[in-house]
Symmetry: C2
Amino acid sequence: MSQPHRSSLPIPDVVIADEFWSPRRETVRAETLPHQEERLRDGGQFAALRFEWRPDPHDDRERFPIFWESDVAKWIEAAGYALASRPDPGLEAAVDEAIALLAGAQQDDGYLNAYFTAIKPGKRFTDLRDAHELYCAGHLIEAAVAHFQATGKTSLLDVVRRYADLIDREFGPGGSCEGGYCGHQEIELALVKLFRATGERRYLDLSLRLLDNRGKAPFYFDEEARERGDAGYFGGQGSVVRADRRSREYNQSHAPVREQTEAVGHSVRAMYQYAAMADLALELGDQGLREACERLWRDLVGTKLYVTGGIGADPSIEGFGPAFHLPDGDGYAETCAAIGLVFWAHRMMLLTGEATYADVLERALYNGVLSGVSADGTAYFYGNPLASDGTVERSDWFDCACCPPNLARLLTSLEEYVYVADDAGLAVNLYVSGTARFTREGRHASVTQRSAYPWDGAVALTVGGEAPLAFALRLRIPEWTTGEPAIAVNGEPASFAVERGYAVLDRTWAPGDRVDLVLPMAPVLVRADPRVAAAHGKVALQKGPIVHCVEEVDNAAPVPHLVIARDGEPAVEHRDGLDRITVAGAVDAPAAGGLYRTGTTALRPTEVRTVPYFAWANRGKGTMAVWVREAP
Amino acid sequence: MSQPHRSSLPIPDVVIADEFWSPRRETVRAETLPHQEERLRDGGQFAALRFEWRPDPHDDRERFPIFWESDVAKWIEAAGYALASRPDPGLEAAVDEAIALLAGAQQDDGYLNAYFTAIKPGKRFTDLRDAHELYCAGHLIEAAVAHFQATGKTSLLDVVRRYADLIDREFGPGGSCEGGYCGHQEIELALVKLFRATGERRYLDLSLRLLDNRGKAPFYFDEEARERGDAGYFGGQGSVVRADRRSREYNQSHAPVREQTEAVGHSVRAMYQYAAMADLALELGDQGLREACERLWRDLVGTKLYVTGGIGADPSIEGFGPAFHLPDGDGYAETCAAIGLVFWAHRMMLLTGEATYADVLERALYNGVLSGVSADGTAYFYGNPLASDGTVERSDWFDCACCPPNLARLLTSLEEYVYVADDAGLAVNLYVSGTARFTREGRHASVTQRSAYPWDGAVALTVGGEAPLAFALRLRIPEWTTGEPAIAVNGEPASFAVERGYAVLDRTWAPGDRVDLVLPMAPVLVRADPRVAAAHGKVALQKGPIVHCVEEVDNAAPVPHLVIARDGEPAVEHRDGLDRITVAGAVDAPAAGGLYRTGTTALRPTEVRTVPYFAWANRGKGTMAVWVREAP
């Protein structure tokens, strides 16, 4: 079959000028990136690259510097995207310093991992299951590609190409790691980016090889453990070989990737793997990988997706629980996993052209991703539970600091997710004000969006360019739309077909043509499938893409005591830059007679007030819930 | 203040002849005890006492024989109680064999622990936090007292007295473990039994010393860890000293026991500690211990008690979560913890004379304890969750086999919990058919109960004896009573006062006098305090002391899809020896549109049918829940 030709517009061709996103992205540039740079300096990540890191003699825990390149790399990647949209000499100098440290830490043969070089010399690539070497390499590659595309500099790209070439030798036929793959997927999708940036086909081949090695018997991780003779970096005092199904599912090595049917195990690893599978399915037209992706997607979205777009409910494995196991207060929903879902959903949309993937991307982005960072840009959630007993708050940093720079790199590269160009024209996937520039039949054209999204579903689009141009403009009709969408072209109501979730306007556009899209966006009560125990007898409030929650600070009682009236009509007020929903409800006071009581409940009427879930925990500690009881 | 003189009647003075309990106790004798003996032989517990146990060379996990004396001891204890009520030469011979093994494993100086003797010689009493030596010793003592009282034989009592004397020296002033105590409480309550059996006051003093050492700074467990220099049996690769509050709370060594205010940590350890505190408060009239017990009780019963009487919601510590954290499907509620609650509640009732403790004892016994064993007596729950996704079933045995013999010893010693004798007369705490014999003013008397409890609240009691005798007969009025209780004496309605939860009938009783008590026992819907998230919008069904659950096998749909009608009137049918409750309800089918949906719910009317919670999981796998949604 012929390949689809869908792709994101290059970041420089998309300008974001959006009331919702621009201030948040400016906060990332001005606050988050400097804050993270400081934490990386204080935390030892930079010192480790100078081989100057030493364990704290007063701390008898062993510290874990094995992921540290990935923290630095994600920060460089985020800075790269930020530099692409706005010059910042101070930031660029800090990036150059970090790149120089990485270059200095690289060994003569291209190997680059400070932990193994300084602390475990001679042990490289002997603990692929636990030690995250290729994971770190993958993040270095992503950073290098972003930095190169933003600045034109090859300083980091040259470094990672030498490392990637070493990896290609070691993991290729006759190499020391032939048949191997990393316990934490990441390099697979990074190598696709490196292929696209360099045109070197062998990076694509290496990516496919690493994916297809995974989960094949005899299991590489068992073999390497036997050869190594110890239980590995995370092995504790357990068995050398962890051959049980749960241990294999943890890193998705339980079965060949093409045969996997359910989203299992550590959810970030899963997302990065599935994203790479979608990339390769697109690049190679590989139908087996595509079908596996579609199966895994149906399983995840049908049984394991939080209403916030969070995934990975089980804290004990940072990963997926069984189907419909979506606990609220005890759930996990790691920020990185929601980000990984954005990555995968984006690639599935490119692969299939179906808007349903962008629906899920939007759900994750505006809720379970954005909740991961505070309004001021300097505090983070690792897990994003859907309820709090009052003890949950964002942290300044984490020992394992994967989430903060992951958030930064996603928000600074938001341009990638707004538009898709294909043979027929341009699709608008996200309603983000700003301009897309693209070329068609050799001529420059543009589409400019204006809206108060996500608070209002009215979007105005204006076509610009050199001359009239025929192309299909496709506008995503989101799943949350609460009535029939309407479109006017140059003020006249237009009829349109909806194909694969997009309203299609295929015509010859003249410069200045204006399209007005109205997506009805009423607040609604959402209920979950009855198999989601945490949502039993409860509702969530949602308006447009924004899932709301109830915070104690806005309400008459701690959240567990609030109930929402059955005939309550939600009303919306926009205040301090956020929608608030108010709905009739009541306070259900604790029983006087102890934990359990018979008889009916006495309810005191009140109004129940919400804020967007992403904005919670910015006003001190207190109870919170997304799922709120309906009144008896 | 003067001491109360409340005590259980001795086991031989209570005969149980009860339609509910007698067949279950016969199952323990005829099925459970032989099954457990076989598992102890197969599992290596007997071999370990012959120092013949070897790790399996094909199993590269280290196996844990450190608790094994306790498994054997609890089995001997259970067998001792069984022998007290019915001779069984085969069982007695097996017990004698086990005792001979224990005697053979005892060292010249009295020490008795096969793990340390065989595998860690020279290391005894160096890892009190983790290694369970005194815990095992405590169970040996309890077994010895039960065996002595059942058979009159001192074969095991002599062994444990020598061991207790060694412990008294080592943990006494100037001993090698002065200031120490065990990480798993148990010996403290066992030493009270040994004191009562032998009259030796120093066992009581040792018990008090071990309790009062606990939680005092400098922390003994920190000191021993520093001296030992490794992280201990369960320490893994962590810190040598575990000085954080959560680690200390785990074994209740975070504060002196008299200053503890909340039930925290591993729940079995907590129950055994609190039971010993209540024992000592009773024996010594120690007001500080009593007040601590009452505080801890209020915290547990007010915030951490499952409706089934289960406790210890957090599987990660086999113990207590925060207040109101009582998840259903993800909860823990270890069988041993509910048994420990029976022990503590019983002692609190003896200490205070308040029926409320027996109410909780009854709730635990008929629900969260009895659920721990299958109808056929040979399969066990370790945890007793209040909901199942269909994967939960009882196991034949466990690597850590604490629960099965704990169940056996409680059910074979049920006599202890039925009656309490005090200066004024006799209190009936549990309605269990059979006869209590007691002596008053030098004369023999008896009280015989007959009822169809727990299925019916009508109880007939007949006084027997040699001659008229004045005493107060106190009948517990359970908290679950659904109307005014009625009492008739010799067919005539009698007025009565209720004092501390007991109906008091204080008069001169003639042989043949008959008392008829009627406790109204209608089925009721129970709701939880709003702070219990797992019960939000849900009800449980209860009749009398029996908490019911809904099992898939009896119903029209998997349990998560069932809802109970708001105006549903529960009806009861008694079938195959069990009550079943039927109530109007509906099936809430899964949404066609995926996990989340807006709009109202389509309900298909059905009847929702229950079984007693204790009887669930005897008919194959399927979904189950105690808390069931109320219809929207």
